[in-house]
Amino acid sequence: MSETMAAGGTRNLQIWRGDLTSGQLVDYQLETEPGMVVLDAVLEIQRSQEPDLAVRWNCKAAKCGSCSAEINGKPRLMCKTRLDHLPADQPITVEPMRAFPLIRDLVTDVSWNYRVNEQITPFTPRDDLPEGDYLIDQADTDRMSEFRKCIECFMCQDVCHVLRDSRLHNKYYGPRFMVRMASLDMHPLDGVNRLDQIADEGGIGLCNITKCCTEVCPEGIHITDNAIIPMKERVVDAHDPVMKIFKRGSGEAGRKKPPPRSADPEL
């Protein structure tokens, strides 16, 4: 067992403090314990030094995806990042996600993601399903399950340059919702033809496959390779006039157009 786990010691944290109008990194010294994660450190600072430090967290078990932040410049879950896995010879910086409007300190307004999700037609069973229990292969389950592991930490959204740098929140749903669309699209019993939404409102064409999202996913979902690229290929096939003749309807047989959706969700 991990008897060798590094001891605590004093660590220097630089935590971003401020709101939409102004802010800066503020230095804190903290006596740490072995095995401490960044969230432990932030909460200890909140308890003992800065009672109004705003931080969002819930489960502290890497299952709810609430405590996303940029640690040493990289999006990570604070509850899953051990202090002793970060370089000891430099301060640990903790900053809010940048792709979303700041509320205060480490807390951002992620409500845009919820507005996007409302635009996505939920699972709708095919009309032609027989009565009785749903019958699904374990292989299909495994394929969907990778995407359904998503804990909605929104760090893939944070790091996606279409959202983070180009601020095209009204043109691209972002990796999180490409993953969601993929889990629905790959459901063998789903009766909705989702390709138009994936291409048009979803804006899958804006992704240029830099795989930044995949790198930060705390659940290890292969967002680019397993969700986005296969859907891009199907969108291209569906819109290619030649492919249309040869492959018309393949994979989409029995699937219907989704109901109309409301306007683009603005940030």
């Binding site: 109004d52 430090l53 705003a54 709810c64």
Partner: protein, 577 residues
């Protein structure tokens, strides 16, 4: 100053499994429905449920049926369950599981492509529908998506600090929005408390930080009765190291898939405590066994027991227990396919809760309903693994429908101004009052008192001392004050009311535990180690008789004539073995 106000037929507090299911049911029944949650949607404690959802579908064990599930639940609950709730749960869980699948939930499959089911402690047959070890996330995400497409208004990061009454009737709720601190009132013809449990009263807990027993305290203050609050489930297997993650859940599925418990002598100690069921004995038994092994000097270096799956195929472990593999690898540096985990008991679940009508979740307060972990009765003295996900679906639906039914008969409700003023005064006092008590500090004190005096093993001396200390905290709780008076996302302000709630709940637990002079399920007395015939027939019902006057009344268990045969048959067969 006018404050933001919303009118609903049905208002649901809490967005975990039971709250979402209640909101869906209420909206389906045609009620104008609002849902309020302390955190973001989809983050509630249900996401942490791992093992599965108990439902006698019979996909793996065709001989399974509702009556065996009912008997298992009653036996697990040591016969203190509300019989009708245990019956409804066992009968309806299969339909609720199938319904989830029709809403898009994805579960592991059998070779003949149906929902697979796994073994779990206390269940006679393989019964738990599951997906890997993240079944709770699947439930939450499925119902979250169902809810946002069900015409339900959702108020995220909104904290409710008081239920508002007009005479005897609950007619709404008061709270504030956490990001801005702005106050908000809701009127409701019927209100469903679905706020989950209160594990944060203990330091070592598997519970999310939101689990501060808010609903118990709010409903108690509004006049509802509580039942059997002394029964706390300590899950046998929480992580014990490193310190920052102590208490973090290690799913029972680890044992369900074949994990073995050993002490530091290498002995498979469950042979001593329950040779028939071994590692898959009920949770109360396994938790006490581990605690006893550690106390008698046979614990691991970090004060737990070894839990080992390294004899299983490593690919199988990584496929069936992926998040356990990650959790130990990331947080403890342990590869569970090669070396054993170290585990110990952690506060996991409140069997007790708000006393409700089994059929529709109604409390004795007009207009007030409760469901899920916030309600009590279904699980008796001890809950079987897998029965909480079934519970929140079956009774979430019933409470949502029940609330909508009552709301339809209510013409209009209006909130008396003095109710709002009192609620405002309270939150204002936490922010700008003359108090000097720090909520972070008081929370720590409370956790120490409960851990020391009302933990996994209890006795008269310890409980009496705990109650004394809690009563002295009660004298100080009016002086709670946030360390800063800003209103936007102020964690200290939030914690003030939560600490007050946790204190109320702790008093119910400790007083109930002192009154119940026996050991049963999730309540173990060192000075009364055996079952008592009297207490085996009685629940403890607690209500608020006014200013700090908490009244506890032993009340006969709610039985059902037509189920007596099943219960007796199970008691006989247990005696025989």
């Amino acid at each position: 100053m006018a404050i933001e106000h919303h009118d609903y037929d049905v208002l649901v507090l809490g967005s975990g499994g039971s709250g979402l299911r209640a909101a869906i049911a209420a909206a389906d029944a045609g009620a104008k429905t609002g849902l309020v949650c302390k955190s973001l949607l989809g983050k509630a404690h249900t996401v942490m449920a791992e093992g599965g959802l108990a439902a006698s579908l019979g996909n793996v064990a065709p001989e399974d049926n509702w009556s065996t599930h009912f008997q298992d639940t009653m036996f697990g609950g040591k016969y203190l369950n509300n019989w009708r709730m245990a019956e409804l749960h066992a009968r309806e869980a299969p339909d609720r599981a199938r319904e989830l699948e029709r809403w898009g939930a994805v579960f592991d499959r059998t070779p003949d492509r149906k929902m697979s089911q796994r073994a779990f402690g206390g269940h006679t047959y393989k019964r738990l529908v599951h997906i890997g070890d993240r079944t709770g996330l699947e439930l939450i995400r499925t119902m979250q998506d169902k809810t946002v497409h069900s015409n339900v208004d959702i108020f995220m990061e909104t904290t409710i600090t008081r239920l508002l009454k007009d005479g005897e009737r609950v007619v709404g709720a008061f709270g504030y929005k956490r990001p801005s601190g702005e106050q908000v009132t809701f009127s409701a013809k019927a209100l469903v408390v679905a706020t989950g449990g209160g594990g944060r009263i203990y330091k070592i807990t598997s519970n999310s930080q939101d689990c501060t027993g808010d609903g118990y305290a709010l409903a108690y203050e509004a006049g509802a009765e509580m039942v059997d609050m002394e029964f706390i489930q300590f899950h046998p297997t929480g992580m014990v190291f490193p310190p920052g993650v102590a208490g973090l859940l290690v799913t029972e599925a680890v044992r369900g898939e074949g994990g073995i418990l050993r002490n530091n002598l290498g002995e498979r100690f469950m042979e001593k405590y329950d040779p028939k069921r071994m590692e898959l004995s009920t949770r109360d038994v396994v938790a006490r066994s581990i605690y006893t092994e550690v106390k008698e000097g046979r614990g691991t270096p970090h004060g737990g027991a070894y839990l080992d799956v390294s004899h299983l195929d490593s690919d199988y472990v990584r496929r069936k227990l992926p998040s356990m593999y990650d959790q130990f690898m990331e947080l403890a540096g342990v590869d569970i396919t090669k070396e054993p985990m170290q585990v110990g008991p952690t506060c996991h679940y409140f069997m007790g809760g708000i006393k409700v009508d089994a059929e529709n979740g109604e409390t004795r307060v007009p207009g007030l309903f409760a469901t899920g972990e916030a309600s009590g009765g279904m699980n008796g003295a001890n809950r079987l693994g897998g029965n909480s996900l079934g519970d929140l679906l079956v009774f979430g639906r019933r409470a949502g429908e029940g609330a909508a039914g009552v709301a339809a008969k209510v013409e209009n409700v209006s909130i008396p101004q003095d109710e709002i003023a009192a609620a405002q005064a309270e939150v204002e006092l936490f922010l700008n009052g003359p108090g000097t008590e720090n909520p972070f500090q008081m929370h720590k004190e409370l956790q120490t008192i409960m851990g020391d005096g009302a933990g996994i093993f209890r006795d008269k001396e310890g409980l009496t001392e705990a109650i004394d200390k809690l009563e002295s905290l009660e004298g100080r709780v009016g002086n709670l004050k946030s360390p800063t008076n800003r209103i936007d996302y102020n964690p200290g302000w939030q914690l003030c009311r939560e600490v007050k709630n946790m204190l109320t709940v702790s008093l119910m637990i400790a007083r109930g535990a002192l009154m119940r002079e026996e050991s049963r399920g999730g309540h173990s007395r060192l000075d009364f180690t055996a079952y008592s015939d009297y207490w085996g027939e009685h629940n403890i019902v607690t209500h608020n008789a006014g200013d700090k006057d908490m009244v506890l009344t032993p009340t006969p268990v709610a039985k059902r004539e037509e189920l007596a045969e099943l219960v007796e048959a199970r008691k006989e067969s247990e005696k025989a073995s």
